[in-house]
């Protein structure tokens, strides 16, 4: 089973990076990082920049997840599905593929500020960047990217055939997720509905007004986002399994 999952992930990776789908998200990330860590804005807060980057990574992975799931052809899926002969194997590989893409994005978003900080002799951040900061940064980013790709890939063509509606719903959900705190503050009753969205506000609530990371808090944020992403992936896979083609 692991061999098949491995082959499926390799196949999806090969198709993704041979195509042009990765170019625009990559360019957008480069622009974001360039602006975020440009000398004009120095020094930036370590934790603050992490919170902002988490939101960026979330949105980027929504985009990546949406583009990946929209590009999937039912015929291609059918041919693969017959070969693999295992629903668990097939859907697990799709989830792993997106998680790996998210991890690549996280590494880029983490390495860039570290390199900039080194090149500027520690001038990019308002305080010295420690290994502890880097680990916490990565943990929180991983949670955000997983939540993003789970939302982006949720409205798969087999979950929602109307692609325009799928894009509108995904953009709406992503926007409300980012702006959840001000929305709930203005309209407390929206809490009844917004619980269904990725709990990305956990990042801002935990680290929005502090200057240092706490490993316990970082793992808590990661765990909540991770559980949300896994549940979203399972729900999507079950809908696809039930609906078939």
């Amino acid at each position: 089973m692991m061999k098949k999952i491995n082959e499926l992930v390799k196949y999806q990776m090969h198709i993704y990076f041979k195509g042009s789908k990765f170019v625009m998200p990559f360019v957008a990330t480069a622009i974001y990082l360039f602006i975020m860590y440009s000398p004009m804005g120095w020094p930036v807060g370590v934790v603050t920049s992490c919170v902002i980057t988490c939101n960026w990574v979330f949105l980027l992975m929504v985009w990546v997840g949406l583009s990946v799931s929209s590009a999937e052809s039912p015929i291609m899926e059918q041919m693969i599905f017959l070969r693999v002969k295992s629903n668990v194997c097939y859907y697990l590989s799709k989830m792993l593929f997106l998680i790996i893409l998210g991890f690549i994005v996280n590494i880029i978003c983490l390495l860039y500020p570290i390199v900039i900080n080194l090149l500027s002799n520690g001038g990019a951040f308002e305080r010295p960047l420690t290994f502890f900061d880097v680990i916490n940064y990565l943990i929180v980013l991983c949670g955000s990217s997983m939540a993003g790709c789970s939302l982006g890939s949720f409205f798969h063509s087999r979950v929602m055939k109307d692609r325009k509606m799928a894009i509108v719903m995904t953009v709406l959900f992503a926007t409300v997720t980012i702006a959840r705190i001000p929305i709930i503050n203005a309209l407390p009753l929206t809490k009844i509905i917004t619980w269904i969205l990725p709990p990305l506000d956990m990042v801002s609530r935990t680290y929005g007004s502090v200057g240092f990371f706490q490993v316990g808090n970082s793992f808590k944020v990661f765990f909540i986002l991770f559980v949300y992403a896994i549940i979203a992936f399972i729900v999507k896979s079950l809908i696809c399994y039930k609906k078939k083609f």
Partner: protein, 267 residues
């Protein structure tokens, strides 16, 4: 040996019944073709057999876990070369690297696409792309092969190779299900031909159903039969093979002149 059994399989789309309580048993090594007009449910039945589409009611029962390979009519190309794509498919089939390499080379030669194996699939013509789809299904011998208009866009030489390969697979015990309009392919591969009429699966016999098209000239301004249709300056009449020998002398005796007689399939 029984391989697949359909038990009361029904399928409805938007309340319209496409398949209605189909009960059928298929044997290992059997070669079955489904024919009929577009939208009659042939492809749906193929996908129900493969469990890719769920039936509205009823069951599809396999006698053991089966490996099914599928050759679709239309195939969206991916951003890989044909060889890269086939390597991945071979790996998913559980074949070793050397075995995959050998199979790709040998099948590539058989289907005359060795030179195109390293071309991006997006740059391949429809016919060549269809050959790549055929190749992926032949990399590993499956238990069941599902063919949905498999010769779409292929050249005559490759069609012959394809027919030979499929018949070899039949000899090895592979069960073939085919949805097809091409009489020549059906005659070359299928032993049992079925059509779907009003949701039911019925046997279809080409020979008894054969139609001829008569082209007739009405030089004596005779009354036109209801079944006749204007055909340029002449009239056409479609008749069954059996009726043809009876009707034709009668018409000539009445004063009609025969200007052509065609097999409706070849027309």
């Amino acid at each position: 040996m029984e391989i697949i059994r359909l038990q009361n399989v029904s399928k409805k789309y938007d309340g319209k019944s496409v398949l209605d309580k189909i009960n059928k048993t298929f044997e290992q090594g059997q070669s079955i073709a489904f024919v009929g007009h577009n939208g009659c449910g042939k492809s749906t039945l193929l996908k129900i057999i493969a469990k890719l589409v769920t039936s509205t009611s009823g069951d599809v029962v396999y006698n053991k876990p089966l490996l099914l390979h599928y050759i679709p009519e239309k195939f969206p190309p991916v951003s890989l070369t044909a060889r890269q794509y086939l390597r991945h498919m071979g790996a998913l089939d559980g074949l070793g690297k050397d075995e995959i390499k050998d199979r790709i080379e040998s099948l590539g030669q058989d289907f005359f696409i060795t030179d195109l194996l390293d071309t991006s699939m997006r740059s391949l013509s429809k016919g060549t792309l269809q050959k790549v789809v055929v190749l992926q299904a032949l990399l590993k011998t499956s238990d069941v092969l599902l063919l949905d208009e498999p010769l779409s866009g292929q050249d005559v030489a490759s069609q012959k190779v394809f027919i030979n390969k499929i018949n070899q697979l039949r000899e090895q015990g592979v069960t073939i299900f085919m949805s097809c309009h091409e009489k020549r392919l059906i005659e070359a591969i299928a032993e049992d031909v079925y059509t779907i009429t009003n949701g039911s699966l019925t046997e279809y016999n080409y020979k008894t159903q054969k139609l001829y098209l008569m082209i007739l000239e009405n030089a004596m301004h005779l009354p036109i039969m209801d079944e006749m249709k204007k055909y340029g300056q002449y009239y056409s009449l479609k008749v069954n093979e059996d009726e043809c020998d009876l009707i034709l002398p009668e018409l000539i005796q009445k004063g009609w002149k025969l200007r052509g007689l065609y097999d409706e399939e070849d027309k």
